[in-house]
Symmetry: C2
Subunit: 358 residues, 2 copies
């Protein structure tokens, strides 16, 4: 679905939410809002969707209850402010929202409190905050054979070829809401770090493999996860994720594939068919990579992930066992010990062949 269509659906949802509250008030009743509970007890793993989802429990905010008046008012204000953003086609950030509230004499103790209310609105609408034009600061990048068509004001209908800037094209509000106009790409390569992303551009990996490259800059912002899903769903492209060989890199791949527990109230942020293409724990031995010992924190993290239902498949279990057996980790850049292009000339084709045969 194009960005503009999604936004008009959300605006309609916000409008209905307001009408309902207005009608309740108009008929002399205390207004209320019902929303799914996001408490840990109500978060469960859905093996079919391959992500965490919210269970059936819901909670109600009622203006009759004096304890509810504050969060109820904050929520209604946020809904109205978000509708304004959408109507004026402006975007905002989490931090902006916190300060903007003061213009309306809506009190938030700190940004944690406003962030929490933003998450509540997400769970009511079943839509990510980006859908009501609230964006985080972080930006990742994309590069490859894909021409997009903008939908943001002043740029409607304008197109950009994503190979037009070799440093990578920033994934911000304009890119996330653009339509996919033209592509001959055959796969998406998602990369944890800028260094390897630049290497892949310089070595023309995007040409050799007809690949769209994405630099997540660590754990990807949600708008980037949403873009990865769109590339898979709308263009039918396979997605391969390259990370460091450590529990944190592995989990970057997992969050792209299966999402996170604190986004259990959202769909459309996961790409269950995406594949973790390494660097695996077993690659450290296989390729004799320079490595560092796992820290205590790394080991603790691995034990946490072992009991996580998302890590149930064989690949993950085996790699976690290998991490714990050798207690070693390695970075993507470690391949540079065989020369700057080894990762492109040898590791990448080997790994893609292996994953396609599976």
């Amino acid at each position: 679905m194009k960005g503009a269509d999604r936004k008009s659906i959300v605006r309609d949802q916000l409008h209905e939410m307001g009408v309902r509250i207005y009608d309740l008030l108009d008929s002399g009743k205390y207004p209320d809002i019902e929303m799914p509970s996001r408490s840990v007890k109500n978060i469960e793993y859905d093996p079919k969707l391959r992500q965490y989802v919210l269970g059936p429990t819901s909670v109600k905010r009622n203006a009759k209850n004096i304890k509810h008046i504050r969060p109820f008012t904050q929520l209604v204000w946020l809904a109205s402010f978000s509708k304004e953003l959408l109507s004026n086609r402006k975007t905002s950030t989490l931090r902006d929202i916190f300060y903007s509230a003061q213009a309306y004499n809506i009190d938030f103790e700190d940004q944690n409190e406003s962030d929490e209310v933003i998450t509540e609105l997400e769970s009511i609408l079943g839509k990510a905050r980006e859908d009501f034009n609230v964006y985080p600061e972080e930006r990742s990048a994309i590069f490859g054979d894909l021409t997009i068509e903008y939908t943001v004001p002043g740029y409607e209908g304008k197109r950009l070829d994503l190979t037009s800037h070799p440093d990578g094209v920033m994934i911000g509000p304009a890119l996330t809401t653009a339509a996919f106009a033209q592509t001959n790409a055959e796969m998406v390569l998602v990369i944890e770090k800028g260094a390897l992303f630049t290497r892949f551009v310089e070595e023309k990996v995007y040409k050799k493999y007809n690949a769209i490259l994405i630099d997540t800059v660590g754990q990807p912002p949600r708008s980037t996860r949403y873009m990865i899903r769109r590339l898979h769903e709308e263009l039918g492209l396979p997605v391969y994720v390259f990370t460091d060989a450590d529990p944190w890199g592995m989990h970057i791949a997992m969050v792209i594939i299966s999402g996170s527990a604190n986004a259990a109230h959202l769909r459309e942020l996961t790409t269950p068919d995406a594949k973790w293409a390494g660097v695996w724990a077993s690659d450290i031995n296989k390729y004799k990579l320079p490595h560092d010992p796992l820290t205590e924190l790394d080991v603790k993290r691995l034990f946490e992930l072992k009991s996580d239902p998302r890590y149930g498949e064989k690949l993950w279990k085996d790699e976690m066992a290998t991490f714990l057996k050798y207690k070693r980790k390695a970075e993507q850049e470690a391949f540079a010990r065989y020369g700057l292009t080894y990762i492109v000339d040898k590791y990448l084709p080997d790994k893609l062949k292996l994953l396609k045969e599976q």
Copy 2:
């Protein structure tokens, strides 16, 4: 100077460095390398250049001295590797250099050691590492009426209009080395944070003020400081820097203007004529901005900066005094309390008028 010309000068410098060592060896002498000392004693503030510079003291690495053999070898390897990078028109990162050394059996204890040798090579050449194609990971962004012409392989002669992507165009190796082909811009607005950068794009500040916008994402990477200087020197544009109203934001402006002590061995990273356009400590009172108390760390930092020769001018002294008097700080986003566009409609024109009158 265009990127390609700069690079060929550096390649010549590296070549000469190699020839000299070769000739010394060939004539049966121990090779040595002389470089400016970067010890604190040899760093002084140059009021004319308005930046820190290195004094006259130099140090010598001599292969005759057994203690020098390790750093001498590392340095010669780095010079040779950098020449290879330039000849093959490839780029690398600080982290890549650390790992690449292993391919040549050059031993670095950790990345600190390789980073140090990279700084030594900078001081010998008097050029930033970006000039020998070693880039950091961080990326900032640029947007506005400027058409660039690339010089990187595969893109020679291709042009990009920097308004072509409304999320901002990434400042990476390709952009930094591009030539400026066409512009009608009249000023450069440098902004500390993505939120305000996006606001300025959305509110068409680049059109209203004919401004090129730069998002530094905090303390700007050196390639971004180099770009800011180029925009000022090559295009004759005035530069205004917008930061948070706290000692850290103030110092971002100062580093853009006067550079940093640990880059005292470099020129061409400063823009002494750039102006700090706020948010000033005095703006917190003037605009009745939502504010937070200064932390102990903030206050400590202010006392450090007070004794820094770069902070000698009246504006800085007054603002530091105001910070310390009221013990308050505020963020750029704090203007959102007056509505999302107040900073564009009111603050920006007020401040530009004030700075132009000075």
